[in-house]
């Protein structure tokens, strides 16, 4: 067992405990749900990290075709999806008790995040359409490069131009000087921690897939 995984385990335990126990400013409507920022936002950061890993391995795969790059790109995209789904579900629950609805089609960030998930669903559907491993690796790498370029636009550029209840709209950043400074002491470690957890899960997934393909090709 690698030492960094134990560090991540301890780190995240402290982040969770800190996120629940620190004193947070009292804000009407938000109340205690302001603590959700420590858990909901890092889901997306972990998703971005995983999609970036997937993007890098897709490029490497096109550069010098190797099945191991394809396995890594697929694994990272999968783990990214899992975190994205967590982000959508936690956001929906949070929205119910602060905005008053589980889902609204008037909310650009929500819908465009769901659209981003759909684009990655298409990646896995595309993968399943090929029997030939090398062909699958090449075509899905090309698609993946397209898919990742949509992410910053769907989740940052476009929502900031539109009116939205979600923080980070109307040309403003989500996290600014009006946000209580003490939230950063947990938020940033939480982002690091969740990204590390994502890498850990990715590590397990791609190793398992590698072993699986080696067994199949024995």
């Amino acid at each position: 067992m690698k030492a960094w995984k134990i560090v991540v385990a301890v780190w995240m335990t402290l982040v969770i405990a800190g996120g629940i126990l620190i004193q947070i400013p009292e804000i009407p409507i938000l109340e205690q749900t302001a603590r959700n920022i420590f858990f909901h936002v890092p889901m997306w950061m972990a998703m971005f990290a995983m999609f970036s890993v997937s993007f890098i391995y897709s490029i490497r795969n096109l550069n010098s075709p190797d099945l191991i790059f394809d396995i890594k790109a697929e694994s990272a995209a999968k783990v990214g999806m899992v975190f994205g789904i967590c982000g959508l579900l936690t956001g929906s629950l949070w929205a119910r008790f602060t905005w008053g609805t589980w889902w609204t089609f008037a909310e650009p960030k929500m819908n465009l995040a769901a659209l981003a998930m759909m684009i990655y669903v298409a990646y896995f559907v595309l993968r399943s359409a090929f029997d030939d491993e090398e062909k699958r690796a090449k075509v899905s790498a090309v698609y993946n490069i397209f898919a990742v370029t949509t992410i910053p636009f769907l989740l940052y550029v476009v929502p900031r131009q539109l009116t939205s209840l979600h923080p980070g709209a109307d040309g403003n950043p989500a996290f600014s000087e009006i946000t209580a400074a003490e939230l950063r002491f947990i938020l940033y470690p939480a982002m690091i921690g969740f990204i590390a957890v994502a890498f850990w899960i990715y590590d397990i997934v791609h190793r398992y897939k590698t072993v699986q393909s080696r067994i199949e090709n024995l």
């Binding site: 067992m1 995984k5 385990a9 995240m12 335990t13 969770i16 405990a17 629940i20 126990l21 850990w200 899960i201 590590d203 397990i204 190793r207 398992y208 072993v211 080696r214 067994i215 024995l218």
Partner: protein
Amino acid sequence: MQEDSVAVVDTLTQAYAEKWSGAELEQTNAFISLMYSNDLIFVVLGVTLIIWAVLLFFMFRVDSKVSSLEDKINSVEQE
């Protein structure tokens, strides 16, 4: 007693009311009174940490299983 009044009589509460009301704060130990403090936030902490601990246990386990599979296939391929 009338037939339809049976539903009104809460026999469960009657039978156990003494035991429930017996759980006074001052009669409990330090751990229980700590958990009751601060609007029960420590209960939330406990729930989250239990989930995290179980997930961690699972991740470490799967991780070590994959490691042993890797060792196995390495030794098979070397033969």
